[in-house]
């Protein structure tokens, strides 16, 4: 990307991405005032955030045209990240004998 013509094109992309990110931010805040149910709000919010994050990663961080090695490393990280995200499920109610109680003593059955 040392070519001047190339870099000019890239810079135009940056501004477009910037615009998209700002729109995304507006949309997230807008969705907040929409007053939808919690699962829907979560879905919308996380979806917009993921789109924004992808834009940043792909264009600002040049991931869209990165070398293969980096992809492999990121793929590995994603695999372990998924294992990590399984963790809150393991710590809460899923397949945990017993149940959380609000006081130190067990709740009545």
């Amino acid at each position: 990307m040392s070519d001047h013509a190339d870099i000019d094109k890239t810079v135009r992309t940056y501004f477009m991405v910037f615009g998209a990110l700002m729109v995304g931010t507006g949309a997230t805040v807008g969705a907040y005032y929409l007053d939808v149910s919690v699962p829907v709000a979560l879905a919308i919010g996380l979806f917009i955030a993921s789109v924004k994050a992808s834009l940043v990663a792909c264009y600002f961080m040049h991931l869209i045209a990165e070398k293969r090695l980096i992809y492999w490393v990121l793929l590995l990280t994603v695999a372990f990240f998924i294992a990590l995200m399984a963790l809150p499920l393991l710590t809460s109610v899923i397949d945990q004998a017993g149940h959380f109680t609000s006081s130190g003593a067990p709740a009545a059955h």
Binding site: A97, G98, F100, T101, G104, A105, P106, A108
Partner: protein, 266 residues
Amino acid sequence: MMDAMFPAAASEHAGEIDNMIDAVHYLMLVLFIVWGAFFLYTLMRFRAARNPKADYVGVKSKASTVGEVLVAIAEGVLLLGFSIPMWAERVDEIPSEADSTVVRVVAQQFAWNVWYPGADGVFGEADPYLTDEATNPIGLDRDGAGADDIWTVNQLHLPVDKAAIIHLTSKDVIHSFNLPNMRIKQDAIPGLSIPVWFVPTKTTVQIREETGNPDYVYEIACAQLCGNSHYSMRGFLTVHTEEEFQAWLDEEASYLGDSGTDDFFN
């Protein structure tokens, strides 16, 4: 093979677990002997003095692959045939509370508070703010179902040949409820109430006869580091006949009748 090492077994499922540990150790022993024999022979046979020129290729046979497959199969058998079903029995097949002795154990630094539902068979409510270490360590609310509840410290009493379900929790830090004779171990985790069950098969009297030790007691040990006196967080399990157990419960209940301490404090 190794029964001599284990603490005397006194619960229904103890035999299964002991057998499994035996089986695993047989496997380990076989592997160790085969590996060891091969190893020692190799070290003798191929020492530089006897074999000055090494063989570039070495072993050509695929025997090791066969060995590895056999190990994998043995592990698979242990896993699918023993461990998984036995674990399922421990955690999924808890007997009905109606046919069992139901007890709560509330661990604390450094004692086991044992809590029985009393004559009505219903546990009362607990409120941490009612806790008084000397007179009410479990924070029991004596209003309502808690009026006849019984608590003891470090003294767990159970009837023989009847399933015991123990709901474990902790007041402060993580403890681990260890009944070596019953092959039971379960962490007591604050904020969680975890059921654990077993069927004691020998009364304290019987085990004393069997071991020839008139002072033999079933002990409750703490298996998880819980602070400076962790090492002496020792409780006692006494297994009675059904009648003796009732008699013991009645005696404990007799302290309740005239105490009248509740309205004194509140």
